[in-house]
Amino acid sequence: MTAGIHRPENIESRVLRVVQDVLALEELPRDLDVSIAAELALDSLDQLSLFMALEDEFGGRIREEDAEQIITLRDVVSYVRDRMSVARVE
């Protein structure tokens, strides 16, 4: 059953769970407007790790030229929702 997996709130919570997992955070991040580089302290290799995990979770690709435009967690969620083509069945 795939109906519902594109629901925005569903994608957001799944993205945040991946972020929590990759960053080993004790709680889900709550503020979507934090910068992944500055406030979440992800260097360029850490960002690659996050993007790989998102690709594994959602089955699509984050293109290198697009990755440079992803600044905040909200950008991450938007990119996954709008650009990653294949969503994994939950």
Binding site: L48, S49, M52, E55
Partner: protein, 453 residues
């Protein structure tokens, strides 16, 4: 002035699983690891050998973080898993150092005085092959899939589907591939994972890599460079298309007589036809100076009493037939410890099952040990794990000394030499043992171990 070195912890990941004592029980029971190679491989090459020794892969996602699993070749994770077992076996607890990086510290060790030495024959070749496959096939397969959609004939579509299946590849070109494939990755990440900042070395002497790594760690401790070290070897030789297997097969190194499978792997037997390729494995030993172990109040499993190595300067893939460098190595090893051949009761041979290795090794053992020494081949149980084999056999030798018990060498019904081959589990009384490895390239390496005092 050198210091005594003792072995206090052992970790093995093998075809028999990841529990060291269960591994040792399986060795003593003469369990054999052998199975047909993956059926899929036959689509890509005509293979002479059809058997391998599959590895019981640990549950990596349970033991490592999602990020670690994505960024490390199995050869590195295997080394880390074996290192964790060795530390635990030595009674050393770990605690979290960095939660995000999932790294640890070992409070019982001085990080700056603890080294890491890991051997591997080919390093992260699985990652290299997977990413190479992606680069070569991804765009081509996508175009072929599009052409397949334009095909009307069901038969053509079915054939296209079969070809597309053969062109399967992983999901991406991994941005971490360079750090995954480099042969120093296991040594580097074992040390990063456990926060160990002493001497660190990757050893690449093919089938002798694990033995050389343990030997270098021994020397570093004996000469006071470090007080403790994690040392061993790791190898992971699986790939989607069987290319690594094919490489060993095409040079006629692998078992050719495969029926029945259980009888195919027969080191030192007249009917041997090559070595049994192993999917992989790892073993790590925790070595300490005797004083360091005593200060911790830990009982040694055995003593590591010597290391010697030599080089054939003869052929990249065949031993020098007279074994002169191998013989010199063994005599140097004994002399360095002030022992004679009569002091050694057990020799864990390289014993691969190839014509040239076993013939050469057997005659050298006869020359160096004219009064006899018990000999077995751990590879007769596990197949050949290349860079891990020397470390796995060092573990076997340590446990043999501890328990005064030798595992059987399998399928040895018509021995090629009049040596004291062990063909069933035997209790023996002996104080010193040698584990030796002989490698492609011409490297010879041997460890001398002694019963714990």
């Amino acid at each position: 002035m050198t210091r005594r070195v003792v072995v206090t912890g052992l970790g093995v990941i093998s075809a028999f699983g990841d529990d060291t004592e269960a591994f040792w029980k399986d060795c003593q029971a003469g369990r054999a690891a052998v199975a047909p190679v993956p059926e899929r491989w036959h689509a890509f090459a005509t293979l002479r050998s059809r058997l391998w020794a599959p590895l019981a892969l640990p549950d990596f996602p349970a033991a490592f973080s999602r990020v670690e699993c994505a960024q490390h070749d199995p050869v590195t994770l295997l080394a880390c898993a074996a290192a964790a077992k060795a530390l635990a076996g030595a009674g050393l607890e770990t605690e979290v150092a960095d939660r995000r990086a999932n790294t640890l510290r070992v409070p019982g060790l001085d990080a700056l005085r603890t080294g890491v030495f890991v051997g591997t024959g080919v390093g992260g070749v699985n990652a290299f092959m997977a990413n190479h496959t992606y680069q070569v096939l991804a765009a081509t397969r996508e175009r072929c899939a599009a052409l397949r959609e334009q095909m009307g004939e069901p038969e053509l579509r079915a054939e296209a589907d079969a070809l597309l299946e053969r062109m399967a590849h992983g999901p991406r070109f991994n941005p971490f591939v360079v750090s995954m494939l480099m042969p120093n990755a296991p040594a580097a990440y074992v040390a990063i994972k456990h926060g160990l900042r002493g001497a660190n070395a990757a050893c690449a002497q093919a089938c002798a890599s694990g033995t050389v790594a343990v030997g270098q760690a021994f020397q570093a401790i004996a000469h006071g460079q470090v007080d403790a070290a994690l040392a061993g070897g790791s190898e992971y030789l699986d790939d989607a298309h069987g290319s690594i297997f094919h490489g060993f097969d095409v040079c006629r190194a692998l078992v050719r007589e495969c029926d029945p499978p259980a009888a195919a792997n027969r080191p030192f037997d007249a009917a041997r036809s090559g070595f049994l390729f192993a999917q992989g494995g790892a073993a790590m030993l925790l070595l300490e100076s005797a004083e360091h172990a005593a200060a911790r109040g830990v009982e040694p499993i055995c003593e590591l009493a010597g290391f010697a190595h030599s080089f054939d300067a003869h052929s990249m893939m065949n031993p020098e037939p007279r074994g002169l460098a191998m013989e010199a190595m063994l005599r140097t090893l004994l002399a360095g410890a002030g022992l004679t051949a009569r002091d050694v009761g057990y020799l864990n041979a390289h014993g691969t099952g190839t014509q040239s290795n076993d013939a050469c090794e057997a005659q050298v053992v006869q020359r160096v040990f004219p009064d006899g020494v018990a000999v077995n081949s751990t590879k007769s149980l596990l197949g050949h794990t290349i860079g891990a084999s020397g470390a796995i056999e060092a573990v076997v030798t340590a446990l043999s000394l501890r328990d005064q018990c030798l595992h059987p060498s399998l399928n040895l019904s018509d021995p090629i030499a009049d040596l004291d081959f062990v063909t069933r589990r035997e209790a023996r009384s002996f104080d010193h043992a040698i584990s030796q490895s002989l490698a492609f390239g011409g490297h010879n390496a041997a460890l001398l171990m002694a019963r714990a005092r």
